[in-house]
């Protein structure tokens, strides 16, 4: 039995979309009521930079993944350390 990692990428995309909506609402409030003063610009920029860093790091870690290639599920079940425990019993 195998599964495409693309499914998990889709779940990530949905969560990321909700993140974008909520972040946009916060930006709206800052621009509308915070009047784009220095503190609001600086904090918003820090937030943006951190967001980009996290997204880039995430996909940097997953650079070797071939998203449309199915991965067998038994790779979770047959992990070496779980196998060791089973052998012990």
């Amino acid at each position: 039995m195998s599964i495409s990692p693309f499914i998990f990428l889709m779940v990530y995309a949905v969560a990321a979309l909700i993140f974008v909506v909520l972040a946009s609402m916060n930006f709206y409030h800052v621009i509308r009521f915070g009047h784009l003063r220095a503190p609001s610009i600086i904090v918003s920029l820090i937030f943006l930079v951190l967001t980009v860093t996290i997204v880039l790091t995430t996909f940097g870690q997953l650079s070797s993944v071939i998203w449309d290639e199915n991965i067998p599920l038994n790779i979770i079940i047959n992990l070496p350390f779980t196998a060791d425990v089973d052998d012990g019993f």
Partner: protein, 193 residues
């Protein structure tokens, strides 16, 4: 709170002849407390990751399904951690009390879709009280201010105000000054009649 000169402070609907006396935000410690919880939440997965990498071979293969799931989950987790931190800051930054010579304008951001702006005439104040309660509020001198008005049953509250005692005294002083000014102008008006 900083007792600097706010005479040039502008807010929407400010009349030209109305001077701003104080602009209050919550104490920075109140924000720091919230952010600290998120920082702890951010550190927890790093500790778990270190333990997993050290003691298991779960994440050795960077093309395995478990690796993909964990990296994607961690990515989302950290995105939401910084989103909540940013929201805590927005909440802190947009909650503001503007005290002028005639009124108090309180603006509070409650969540993403709820913003309350209320206004109170200083002449209608009946009672001002402040509460400094807890370890951090006592150490860093911040607390809640409650303003009771003559006509409204519910109180006007503002939490985690720096120098709460000093601010409540200042509000009462402004109230008395305004009442005396109004009484003076009424007497003068009666004499001219």
């Amino acid at each position: 709170m900083s007792m600097t000169d706010f005479k040039n402070f502008y807010f929407p609907g400010k009349p030209v002849n109305e001077d701003v006396v104080m602009v209050l935000r919550r104490h920075k410690m109140a924000l720091a407390n919230k952010l600290f919880i998120f920082v702890l939440g951010g550190l927890a997965p790093i500790v778990v990751y270190t333990l997993v990498v050290t003691y298991t071979v779960l994440l050795d293969d960077d093309t395995s399904l478990i690796f993909i799931i964990i990296v994607l989950l961690a990515g989302i987790y950290y995105l939401y951690i910084i989103l909540f931190m940013y929201h805590a800051w927005v909440d802190y930054y947009l909650d503001i009390w503007i005290i002028t010579e005639e009124r108090i304008i309180a603006t509070e951001q409650k969540g993403l879709f709820n913003r309350e702006v209320s206004e109170l005439r200083l002449s209608r104040i009946q009672d001002v009280s402040c509460v400094v309660k807890g370890f951090f509020p006592t150490i860093f001198k911040y607390g809640s201010i409650h303003v009771q008005t003559a006509s409204e049953s519910d109180r006007f509250n503002f939490g985690e105000v720096p120098n709460a005692v000093e601010v409540s005294r200042k509000i009462l002083a402004l109230h008395e000054k305004l009442v005396n000014k109004n009484m003076g102008s009424t007497k003068q008006h009666t004499r001219t009649e």
